[in-house]
């Protein structure tokens, strides 16, 4: 039996399902705007933008870090730094002049934060999916991403529940770079990291491909739109933990009494619809956008891999660890690394260093766990 791919279908026949896909996405955004409010429909659309950009332009976080560690290819990380720098250039003055309305992804550096980032870096290399990557992978039908996602959400909920205990072990005061001087420090640090990557790069790998430039620009635009519409930067982990918290509450658990979920902002989220929660909406949009691109390209005809049982066990454990550790680290590659650095939080830089060290360990773990051939 042969599998028909999108390239086998005549161009005119392909247009109809593609138009239908886009129409459904637009309808969903409009429906949310009508049911919940215009801001929420717009946030779902921004989420679709993230998902389409990440899947459509094959832009990720875990993969480029792996490429740098294994093959000294820095293009993907350089593109990430470009996107972060572009957001910072606009976000810093916006945050300074609109401090009442907009907040950055600002969090303290601490033992648990650094440890959490290290574990997250290792786990994201095991499943080759970070916070945004797991959503994209699940939406595009990657079975590893699909299995990891619910455990990521469960881990995020448990991590949130334990967060205050972990932070009581010791945290430094919050350090945020602000204003023009903060922007100069941030851009200078980004440039220094880029220079180090270029110095370490293998010959012939120092150019950023055109698609990555486009992806970096689009991601920066969507991240800034997220900030202007929601009043807070792009994040992923909070929404996943919230979904599990609502599930646990529905099963009779007294989630509202837990210290994390009894805080005013979180307790309000527990009782309100996820269609009014910023990170939930962009997460749903990312899954939808990745699905749209995969279906558009005919990628859903791809056969599922035949992985050994230990690979699935590793995926489940890595999913739990991704969720748990990213709560301790005050975010994943999106909330801490991308949004933390681009809005001036020192914890974003600590996250970057610790998660990269964890990624080096994770790259070595992956073949041992049956997720790829031994090198």
């Amino acid at each position: 039996m042969s599998v028909q791919t999108i390239s086998d279908i005549p161009r005119a026949s392909r247009a109809v399902p593609r138009i239908a896909l886009v129409a459904i996405a637009l309808f969903l955004c409009l429906a949310v705007a009508m049911m919940a409010g215009a801001r929420y429909g717009l946030l779902l659309a921004i989420g679709f933008g993230f998902g389409i950009t990440l899947e459509g332009l094959r832009f990720g976080f875990a993969g480029p870090w792996r490429a740098m560690i294994l093959r000294r290819e820095p293009a993907g990380i350089l593109a990430q730094l470009v996107a972060i720098g572009l957001v910072a250039i606009v976000a810093f003055p916006l945050l300074q002049s609109n401090a009442e309305e907009l907040t950055g992804a600002i969090a303290p550096v601490g033992w648990a934060m650094v440890g959490g980032a290290f574990v997250f870096g290792a786990a994201m290399q095991v499943v080759l999916g970070c916070g945004s990557g797991t959503l994209v992978n699940a939406g595009s039908g990657n079975p590893v991403g699909l299995v990891a996602l619910p455990f990521f959400a469960i881990g995020s909920f448990i991590g949130a529940t334990h967060l205050l205990w972990w932070t009581s072990l010791g945290s430094a005061p919050v350090v945020a770079f602000t204003g023009t001087s903060g922007l100069i420090v941030t851009l200078g640090a980004l440039a220094a990291v880029a220079a180090l990557l270029l110095f370490l790069a293998a010959p012939g790998t120092r150019t950023i491909p055109r698609r990555m430039w486009i992806a970096a620009l689009l991601l920066a635009l969507f991240a800034l739109a997220n900030l202007a519409v929601a009043g807070q930067p792009w994040g992923v982990v909070y929404g996943l933990g919230l979904w599990t918290a609502k599930g646990a509450a529905a099963m009779g658990s007294d989630v509202a009494a837990l210290p994390f979920w009894s805080a005013p902002a979180n307790s309000e989220r527990l009782t309100s619809s996820i269609l009014t929660d910023v990170t939930s909406l962009t997460n749903l949009g990312i899954i939808g956008g990745a699905f749209l691109v995969a279906a558009w390209r005919g990628g859903l005809a791809q056969k599922l891999p035949n992985l050994p049982p230990r690979a699935w066990v590793a995926t489940i454990i890595a999913g739990l660890l991704l969720g748990y550790s990213s709560r301790l680290a005050f975010g994943c590659n999106v909330g801490a690394f991308f949004s933390g650095i681009s809005t001036g939080s020192l914890h974003g830089w600590a996250w970057f260093a610790a998660a990269f060290a964890g990624s080096i360990a994770g790259v070595r773990l992956r073949p041992l766990l049956g997720l790829e051939g031994r090198r």
Partner: protein, 58 residues
């Protein structure tokens, strides 16, 4: 494992629909007339604070 990504992508969409169904059953009803302004920027309202980087006070 046999099958294609159609199966797993459909499962992902089913997961999303399940989450939305649970949410509808357990959350306060949506009210578009009480929604905040379309843009936080320029609204004069503080952001909600429900973000990965936000540390709740005890």
């Amino acid at each position: 494992m046999t099958g294609t990504r159609r199966l797993t992508a459909a499962a992902a969409l089913a997961l999303v629909l399940g989450i939305l169904a649970l949410d509808k059953a357990t959350s306060t009803p949506l009210d578009p007339f009480r929604a905040p302004p379309i843009l936080a920027l320029g609204s004069g309202q503080a952001s909600g604070g429900a973000h990965c980087a936000a540390l709740p006070s005890k």
